[in-house]
């Protein structure tokens, strides 16, 4: 844009720290609303379910896995782009990453936390969840490391740890900036957060190296996490789930949904926190291109699934496929195809790609589609397995729907806390992209 004037270093500090240090009433209202919804729609139904048993959900003999698990995949998926994208772009040294990566990583962290909640909600006896981690317990038993669910436990623990460290380490210099801009208790707290960061050459040097290694670790991790999540399904014999393509399918879907999530979050941050000078068209453009690529891969895998299902001719595969395409949940299937395969093709047009509002809507649609996809996985395959006589049907109960809605509020609440805790745009990395301060040009 022509009227764009590059900010000075001091302006960067001022603009970004303002989002952290100045809290208006609008923030508190939004925060109050999301926190209330999180409590009313998420925690209270959960406590109720805890009390009466999992029967509070719509799951039944015909479908023992329901929206809790599909939401779990969704949130894990949403978490996928942030850290992964940030790490990939860090390693490939793409400059445009710097303004957006912090919020993307935050999205990872908090959607991962939300996903972890769904694991707990999903359990029949959540009060014994500690038996699934290798700590001593009354039964004297250790977890079964042959279980794909335990891969999950390991993967999510690792992913949560690695992403927290990744985002935290990347923020240490910014915590120092917050510390320097504040007084009193906040100053003391941020002194601790920033480890007493001064910005010496040695500190920068070590951080740089460590950060690169974190990035190196995080990339294969992120790929493995969603592969492992897919194995929860693909390792079963269930027709429609027992596919080798499932791991790449899930990883691709996850990155897809995560990238769309980044667009959504970017849009909101830009609008609500007046960060127009930092989150710019180039970001939207690049993310848009990424979305197109991902949507094409995603559509390709979907077509592949239809193709193999149709070609196999096996009653199991074919039945599962026809039910998905033409059964009770067929409208959801076609909605998903529309939202995730067709609508994103609009991004090919530069005009659409550069429109914040349209991109925002598309990104939301993609994630609705992805949420549907995850729901279809549990609701179309599991109730119709091998024995036709045991075929059933699944529809989520009010408790499940409420918890699903509540999970979005929970995510929003966590994110709102985050933006008051950590600068949502990396101060020092934005400065890096600016014109260096030199006397001699």
């Amino acid at each position: 844009m022509s009227d764009y004037r590059e900010p000075t270093y001091a302006e960067v500090n001022r603009d970004i720290l303002r989002t952290l240090l100045e809290t208006g009433s609008r923030y508190w209202i939004v925060f109050g609303i999301t926190a209330t919804i999180a409590i009313v729609c998420f925690y209270i139904p959960w406590i109720y379910q805890w009390h009466v048993g999992l029967g509070a959900s719509g799951q039944s003999r015909s479908d023992v896995w329901g929206t809790y698990l599909s939401n779990f995949i969704f949130w894990i998926g949403l978490s996928h782009s942030g850290t992964l994208l940030s790490a990939v772009l860090h390693i490939t040294r793409s400059g445009w990453r710097k303004a957006i990566y912090r919020s993307a990583e935050a999205m990872t962290l908090f959607s991962l936390m939300t996903a972890a909640f769904f694991v707990l909600i999903h359990l029949g006896r959540v009060w014994f969840v500690h038996w699934s981690v290798p700590v001593p317990n009354q039964m004297g038993l250790w977890p079964n490391f042959r279980s794909p669910l335990l891969f999950d436990v390991m993967a999510i623990t690792t992913y949560l740890t690695a992403s927290s460290i990744f985002i935290y380490m990347g923020s240490v210099p910014d915590y120092a900036a917050v510390r320097d801009a504040s007084t009193g208790l906040r100053r003391r707290l941020y002194t601790i957060f920033s480890f007493g960061w001064r910005g010496t050459a040695r500190e920068w040097h070590t951080l740089g190296w460590a950060y690169t290694f974190f990035a190196v670790f995080v990339i294969p991790l992120a790929v493995s996490v969603h592969s492992i999540v897919s194995w929860d399904f693909a390792m079963s014999l269930v027709p429609g789930l027992h596919h080798t393509i499932f791991a790449p399918y899930f990883v691709c879907g996850a990155i897809y949904s995560g990238t769309a999530g980044i667009v959504t979050v970017m849009y909101l941050l830009r609008r609500c926190l007046n960060l127009e000078r930092y989150i710019r068209e180039i970001h939207l453009d690049n993310l848009g291109k990424l979305l197109i690529a991902l949507s094409l891969i995603w559509a390709y895998i979907n077509i592949l699934e239809l193709f193999t299902g149709w070609y196999s001719g096996s009653s199991f595969q074919y039945e599962a496929l026809t039910y998905k395409l033409f059964g009770y949940y067929a409208p959801l299937y076609w909605e998903m195809i529309l939202f995730c395969a067709f609508i994103p093709q609009l991004i090919f047009w530069k005009k659409i790609r550069s429109s914040w509002n349209i991109m925002f809507v598309i990104s939301i649609l993609i994630n609705i589609g992805m949420l549907t996809e995850r729901f279809l996985i549990v609701s179309t395959s599991l109730p119709r397995k091998f024995l036709p006589n045991a075929f059933g049907f699944y529809f989520p109960s009010l408790v499940e729907i409420s918890i699903t809605i509540g999970s979005f509020a929970l995510f929003a609440t966590l994110f709102l806390i985050f933006i008051k805790w950590t600068p949502c745009v990396s101060i020092y990395e934005v400065k890096e992209t600016l014109k260096p301060l030199r006397r001699v040009e």
Binding site: P136, Q138, M139, G140, L141, L387, F391
Partner: protein
């Protein structure tokens, strides 16, 4: 501070060990591994399981008379299994029999004697003591006896047999009343009558399915509900796979597929009520093709002449081809059996039909032969019970007597005429003429709810009794029913109540019934068997015999009956064999469908509806639980725009009921079927207000010959209503979708 109970303490330990105790447990876990890991699955070596005590007694859930072994622990009944000594069921038991525990421990049992306080039928009772109950009843009975009005006392019971039946009879006789009836909806009146006509004896012979090569069943659901299902199931298993390579064939002829139909090799439908005609058609083919060469050939020839295959085919809807083929197969694969029951028994021509079916047995010459019909020897003690069964016409007489104030006291025991009689009989209305209705029952069923005085009885698992199974098993047996647990509630056994009443009333009654306890009465009665039937062994006294009989649960004698020779029936008998077309209540135009109510394996005639295990047992044919439904052919449904769950209004000339539709692929398009058993207005929490009772729309059609209720002879029309409900069933999709679930070549038929 409050005391910490042991329970709380254990809770603390539990909570603490999750975190703080982890280290300690870690240490433990590495040492005593098995105990920590598998306490529930494999108990440790030093854990000694409790010792169960088994009591042998008799199942009284239906009239088959199976022997059962009840497993008890610490004085509580835990499980009912078949008594392997008992020749009827040989250790096996059906679902209903096993659910007997639900009757014993039913939460809705009547817990103490009750006296009506409000209007009749308002369900308002107060609890009274046994003393008061027996005194009230005893003095009323005594007064009638003194006034020489003993004959105005009526006793109506279910199909009770053995010495309890005799006790009732003695009691009523001493009261001066001969008004002692049984009412049992499932009683095969027509079969007894048909057997009397052909065999000259009003009995059910032993159908030797075990050794048969061909079982031609006209509607008899012998694997599900007909007479003695467990015994016939055993025989069926033997017929199929128990004889090496020789596998018997089963053919089932009925308008709606029953469980037996599902298991038959061939299932053939005929128009409702024309089973007898079809049998005559088969007989015609047998006679004409020289299948029968007896001396009375000519008489038979005459008798079957009107039933040529083409005529019968028109009357029954079965193709000529099939008629001749069945006849040939039946003659070729002897020994074969022709049996009739189920809906065949529920038509206006039932006796004639069953007579015709018996004639097939006669013509095939299987009488008295293994694999055919075998006649039982004299039972250990006379079984009078059959004679006391009141059919519909006789019940109408009782109802007339009630209406005309001829009944002062009506004692009802273990039978539920309010539920099991069509309302057209006006039983409830007739009760207005009865000053005192006394119910001797364990449950608050519909009849008991109308009673003035309720004397709660023991269930069969708490009471003494005995039984001779009917039909027999080819040799004389008898079995004793003994209490397996202490009474759960303040109830008394029916025998004790009768004996107590006898003493209360006084006069010659205590002389006729000198005992105070049923156990003593039984022992004294069995002494007779001991003396007459058992070769006296000097070393074994009666006590040993009694103990042995109790322990094994059954007494038997190695004695078969000499064959009755049926060389020839009298001409008169043969001439009587004539089957007419069935008639139905309702015009075919207005009421296009024939309603077939059927007994279900789970509820039988409705008596099982209060047992939660049976309510939760998916119906074997439809997998439906907890409700009633209307079965109709998918084609019919399609034509009328009905789909599963649409609530239908089923209307006959006698009334209307509403129930959801169920598309049943194996039913004639011109009939609809409904299960009997649900639709209770009382009878406990599990049965109450659930489904409908098809009995309530039955027209009072009766059998032409014996006057029994023709319960399949009502025509109905169905109307789809706006309402739609989800039928609760466990089945998902009931087609294999080409999957090899039933073995590879099971797909072709």
């Amino acid at each position: 501070m409050n005391k910490i109970s042991r329970r709380d303490f254990l809770k603390f330990i539990g909570a603490g060990s999750i975190g703080a105790g982890a280290g300690l447990l870690y240490g433990k876990s590495t040492k005593k591994t098995v105990e920590l890991l598998l306490p529930q699955v494999i108990p440790p070596e030093d854990y000694s399981p409790g010792i169960a005590t088994w009591y042998n007694t008799i199942c009284q859930q239906c009239g088959a008379g199976c022997g059962i072994s009840v497993r008890t622990r610490e004085g509580r009944a835990k499980k009912i299994e078949g008594n392997s000594n008992h020749p009827v069921n040989q250790g096996r038991l059906c679902a209903m029999g096993q659910a007997g525990l639900n009757a014993l421990y039913n939460p809705d049992r009547i817990k103490s004697p009750l006296k009506r306080t409000g209007e009749r039928g308002n369900n308002s009772f107060t609890e009274i003591s046994w003393d008061e109950a027996l005194t009230t009843l005893g003095s009323r009975l005594g007064n009638l006896k003194i006034q020489k009005h003993g004959d105005s006392v009526y006793l109506l019971t279910g199909g009770v047999r053995g010495h309890i039946d005799k006790l009732f009879a003695t009691f009523m006789e001493a009261m001066g009343s001969d008004n002692y009836f049984h009412y049992d909806f499932t009683h095969p009146f027509a079969l007894y009558e048909a057997n009397r006509i052909i065999f000259g004896e009003e009995i059910i012979p032993y159908y030797d399915i075990n050794n048969a090569n061909y079982v031609l069943s006209f509607g008899a659901d012998y694997l599900g509900t007909w007479i003695s299902p467990v015994h016939y199931s055993l025989a069926y298993g033997h017929l199929r796979q128990g004889r090496g390579n020789q596998r018997g064939k089963c053919v089932q002829i009925e308008p709606r597929m029953s469980l037996t139909g599902a298991n038959a090799d061939e299932w053939i439908t005929c128009l409702p009520g024309t089973e007898g005609l079809l049998a005559m058609g088969l007989a015609h083919v047998i006679m004409n093709d020289g299948g029968y060469t007896g001396s009375d050939q000519n008489e038979w020839m005459q008798a079957v002449t009107p039933y040529s295959p083409s005529v019968v085919s028109r009357q029954t809807g079965v193709e000529v081809r099939d008629i001749t083929r069945l006849a040939h197969e039946f003659m070729k694969h002897q020994p074969g059996l022709a049996i009739g029951g189920g809906h065949t028994e529920g038509n206006t021509n039932a006796v004639a039909s069953l007579t015709a079916i018996n004639a097939l047995n006669y013509l095939s010459g299987n009488l008295g032969k293994p694999g055919g019909i075998i006649f039982n020897p004299e039972p250990a003690f006379p079984n009078m019970s059959i004679k006391r069964q009141a059919n519909y016409t006789q019940m109408l007489e009782l109802i007339t007597a009630m209406t005309n104030k001829g009944v002062d006291i009506l004692l009802v025991h273990n039978t539920n005429p309010v539920f099991n009689l069509p309302p057209a009989a006006k039983f409830i209305e007739a009760l207005h003429g009865v000053p005192l209705l006394v119910s001797l029952s364990s449950f608050m069923d519909e009849t008991t709810a109308l009673a003035d005085l309720v004397l709660p009885t023991h269930t069969y698992l708490e009471a003494w009794g005995d039984d001779i199974p009917e039909p027999g098993v080819g040799f004389p047996i008898a079995s004793i029913s003994q209490p397996v647990v202490k009474p759960v509630y303040n109830t008394q056994s029916i025998g004790d109540i009768i004996l107590a009443l006898a003493h209360q009333i006084g006069g010659e009654l205590p002389v006729a019934l000198p005992w105070t306890q049923t156990e003593d009465y039984l022992k004294d009665s069995w002494k007779k068997i001991y003396q007459e039937r058992t070769p006296v062994d000097a070393t074994a006294g009666f006590d040993d015999f009694w103990k042995a009989a109790l322990m094994s649960g059954v007494w038997g004698e190695n004695k078969t009956r000499p064959l009755i020779k049926f060389d020839r029936l009298s001409n008169n008998q043969i001439q009587k064999i004539h089957v007419s077309q069935p008639s139905f209540a309702g015009d075919e135009k207005d009421y296009p469908f024939v309603l077939l109510p059927y007994l279900t394996q789970t509820f039988y005639d409705g008596r099982g509806a209060n047992l939660p295990w049976l309510q939760e047992l998916p119906d074997p044919m439809t997998s439906i639980v907890y409700s009633s439904w209307v079965e109709l052919n998918p084609k019919t449904a399609n034509r009328l725009g009905i789909s599963e769950g649409d609530v239908l209004e089923v209307q006959s000339i006698a009334g209307t009921i509403r129930a959801p539709a169920f598309l049943y692929p194996a039913i004639r398009p011109d009939v609809i079927a409904m299960p009997i058993g649900q639709g209770h207005s009382h009878y406990g929490r599990y049965a109450q207000n659930r489904g409908v009772n098809p009995m309530t729309i039955l027209a009072p059609e009766v059998d032409d010959t014996n006057g029994a209720l023709a319960w399949s002879a009502t025509r109905v029309r169905i109307t789809k209503t706006e309402e739609r409900i989800r039928i609760i069933k466990t089945d998902g999709v009931t087609r294999t979708l080409g999957r090899q679930i039933l073995g590879n070549n099971s797909v072709h038929t």
